[in-house]
């Protein structure tokens, strides 16, 4: 009896919380079907019209996708391509580094690791201009390489993976070594499969980070046809006005991949956060 009561109570609290968190997303998604005039018209008093459009329209989506000057599908494509490429490279290189730090023995390992990890405290804004200069000297300004290459190695990713990798029993690796496997073979055949949840977590974090990246593409990309999603959305606000309809439609479209990722892989994501948090 008491148990059902507490369960009902828990459920109600959870439902209320879910409602609070979903409300702004629902407002955004439903607002994208409103004509511009209506978007803030009912924002004052809470009623059904605050959330649901009175006059439904697809004009915002039409404006978004049929604008030849700022082709939105192009921005989505760019972002997908960059985010996927970065994610693949990041998984590979960061896991190799993490494997070395977690499982191999070499001189100055501890000092190197501490030195490397200490870069976690340097905010991205500090390295903005130096990285820009580097990209310029490589001749990469205004290219996808400037978006991809500097984003591949992530101190946080290495840190996260080192936490996971240290869970794998050393004995297992040593057995493989004795059987004649090279370190890379050990990495490929034993560590990677064992760390699948960690890699999925990292993939989500990296992909989301790229999907949402704003400052870096803003600075290195000037050619609009190469621009990334978030910068494109920001350009719907100018000095004189904000195109709310287009922004809501763009936000809705750009939320879909993220929501999908979350719906299916949320378990790993949460796991990744607790792991790195507790053990860090």
């Amino acid at each position: 009896m008491l148990k059902t009561l507490s369960l009902t109570l828990k459920l109600m609290v959870m439902l209320a919380l879910a409602f609070v968190f979903i409300l702004p997303i629902a407002w955004m998604a439903l607002g994208s079907f409103r004509p511009h005039e209506e978007i803030f018209k009912f924002a004052n008093v809470l009623e059904w019209r605050t959330l649901f459009p009175v006059e439904w329209t697809l004009q915002n989506y039409a404006d978004l996708f049929f604008d030849t000057a700022e082709p939105f599908s192009r921005f989505i494509g760019n972002t997908l391509a960059v985010a996927a490429t970065v994610t693949i490279f990041a998984l590979f290189f960061n896991s190799l580094a993490a494997f070395a730090f977690a499982k191999m023995n070499f001189r100055f390992k501890r000092i190197l690791f501490v030195f490397f990890i200490s870069a976690l405290v340097i905010p991205g804004e500090v390295t903005l201009v130096p990285t820009y200069l580097l990209m310029r000297n490589f001749g990469w300004i205004n290219t996808y390489a400037a978006l991809i290459v500097p984003s591949v190695i992530s101190v946080f990713a290495v840190f996260l993976l080192v936490q996971f990798f240290s869970e794998i029993p050393r004995a297992l690796l040593e057995a493989a070594r004795i059987d004649g496997a090279s370190w890379l073979r050990v990495y490929q055949s034993i560590v990677l499969p064992a760390a699948a949840p960690a890699l999925v977590t990292l993939a989500i974090i990296t992909f989301l980070g790229q999907w949402d990246s704003y400052l870096w593409p803003l600075v290195v990309i000037s050619d609009q046809s190469k621009q990334m999603l978030q910068v494109a959305i920001a350009s719907f606000t100018n000095m004189e006005m904000t195109e709310w309809g287009r922004i809501l439609a763009a936000d809705t479209v750009s939320s879909i991949p993220i929501l999908l990722l979350f719906a299916f892989l949320q378990k790993y994501y949460v796991q990744g956060i607790t792991m790195s948090g507790v053990k860090g």
Binding site: A145, V149, Q188, D223, A234, T237
Partner: protein, 441 residues
Amino acid sequence: MRKSKLVRAMTGLLLALTVLAGCSSGGGGNAETGGSSAGEGGSEKVTIKYWRHDNDVEVDTLKQLIASFQKEHPNITVKMEIIPYADYETKIRTALAGKGAPDVMGIDGPNVAAYAYQDAVIPLDDYFAKDGDLDDIAKPVRDSLTYNDQIWAAPLNDASVAMFYNKKMFESKGVELPSKDPNEAWTWEQVLDAARKINDPGKGVYAIDPAWGVGAGEGSAFVKMPFIWQAGGEILSPDGGTADGYLNSPESKRAIEFFNSLYTEKLAAKELPPEAFETGKLGINVSGPWSIGGYAASHPNFKLGEDWDIAPLWKDAKQVTPNGSWNLAITKQSKHPDEAWLFLNWVTGKEGAKVWYEKTKNLPARLSVADAYPELKEYPMNIFVEQSSSFAHPRPVSPAYPTISKAITDLFEEVVLGGKNIDDSLGKAVETIDKAIEKTK
């Protein structure tokens, strides 16, 4: 030791990617392509890179002007690149620091002095003397772009703001409508009186948004500074050397007090929903010519003359309105300043300025353009034109302007939102500004 297939494949991929990137770059205008500036009429191919912020109508107009320019100068290609307004300065500053600046860049008027002081842009006096018709540019605009006796940018247009009011709201409360004559602006007291009558916060209707809320940003500073000037105060001394004795004068203090009283009386809301004026939740607003076309496009049922009207900006001891808008400047990093000037003059010269006005309907900075169109002498544009020639006050021309602008918006924010003592806040603002000025001496 055998290298794993995966390792080889991935490393190869990354290498290929970097090589590819290396090849595809270098097409930009600023890349070291060699060859010095060819001067006028040179047949050498030159690319001028031009950065500006986003605005659909203005960008379309510029595309048209660039096309006609390239027809006239087949050896010059202009590459316009659009940057989101919100982070325009971030991008420009990173590029300047990283030696990746464009040849021509858009600059908001009051930031011109700072860029000139930092040696980021070049003076245009010689160019203007040759074929720029400098005298045709309205004097307040010219003044706002002059620093150290040199002119550093060419204006695309001017800007001014007026009092926008919800006519139906005034009529339903029986409030007398303000005059449309630019020489008969309402006083602060008249505005206050009308605001008290139309205020209805219970119904979600606020009387007035005196200066675009109390947030940060240049737009916010643009409409707040006039309160100080209207009261008879100033922000800096005439030589620009100090704010002490000016920003903390009794006149300036009175301006802050009046502004704050609108909020303490609950005539103005500390937070308004977006587009409050267009959706009938706000009685009095300030805005500029851009909103006339803007409202017509976004809220076609909210009609000028029926639902709302425009009156000159209010006055106090003096009638003062803000001025200045966006300009074009040539960067010091440009390798082709002569070609860049040809483009600048094409867009902002007498002919270009006419095209600019016809398409964008922005307030002209050139007197010849203001004369060429009868509609500029009629309501509602006559209000802005008359204000900008008779009552305009440039924002302080100082290399410390970015700090000054922030100190002003912070000052209003502290007093209105933070409820801080006005004298203390003024003292703090003066101190911040003077420190910044000291650094640029």
